[in-house]
């Protein structure tokens, strides 16, 4: 399930819910991203999405991950709007029969979400506000999945 939310969320509650009634899955991996304060330089992180379009693009990558890593299930929840330092921004959970696939799928999904997903990011701080463009490292992270062969 792919969702966007303007409201803060509790990653622990999401994990408990995601693990419920899974008798044969064996492995669940999760990643939670938190908004960084950047030593006071960022007072608020603001994320804008294109409702409908953003979920659809993320859904396409999640469908790829399901096939590539033979996942039983995947869940992605992403904050949009204004986010305070320390608040969860993104939650990714993957379920598979074995841990390696669950870990790798989580990593794969996060590399996409951090570099190419349709979000526009603005940082508000004491020196004003500025739009953030993707970092070169983010593109390098996502490119490594093109070289590795799927198992």
């Amino acid at each position: 399930m792919i969702r966007l939310t303007f409201e803060p969320f509790d990653p622990g509650a999401l994990l408990s819910e995601f693990c419920k009634d899974r008798m044969e899955v064996g492995a669940v991996a999760t990643f939670t991203g938190l908004a960084r304060a950047e030593a006071g330089a960022t007072t608020v992180l603001e994320l804008e999405a294109y409702p409908g379009f953003t979920e659809a693009r993320i859904g396409e990558i999640a469908a790829q991950a399901r096939v590539r890593f033979k996942l039983d299930d995947v869940e992605i929840l992403h904050r949009v709007g204004k986010i305070g330092p320390g608040e969860p921004v993104v939650f990714v959970a993957t379920a598979a029969r074995h841990r390696r696939a669950a870990f790798e799928a989580c990593d794969f999904l996060m590399d996409y979400l951090k570099s190419k997903a349709p979000f526009w990011k603005k940082e508000h701080g004491p020196d004003g506000e500025r739009w953030i463009e993707p970092r070169a490292e983010d593109h390098a992270d996502v490119a490594r999945w093109d070289k590795e062969t799927s198992k």
């Binding site: 294109y50 409908g52 659809a56 921004v89 979000f119 739009w131 463009e133 993707p134």
Partner: protein, 79 residues
């Protein structure tokens, strides 16, 4: 009337986010926007900018109908 949506820095630059604009083609819409706001027109033609018509990315020109949703998307930053 196409419904035009601006995202990210484009809406800050233009001072609007969502407008109805009459235009038969995407190219004509770009010209119209450039005429009324040269800085916006230039930004919309910048590197890495994508355009979605009814949430599907298009390249080049395309006809617009009365209900087409036209979205101008700056380079996507990820979350």
């Amino acid at each position: 009337m196409a419904r035009v949506l601006l995202f990210g820095r484009f809406s800050d630059l233009a001072g609007w986010r969502d407008r109805e604009i009459e235009s038969p083609f995407l190219s004509a819409l770009r010209s119209k926007l450039s005429e009324e706001d040269a800085a916006l027109g230039e930004a919309l033609a910048g590197p890495g900018v994508q355009v979605a018509l009814d949430q599907v990315i298009v390249r080049g020109d395309a006809p617009l109908n009365a209900k087409t949703e036209v979205a101008f998307l700056p380079p996507m930053s990820g979350g």
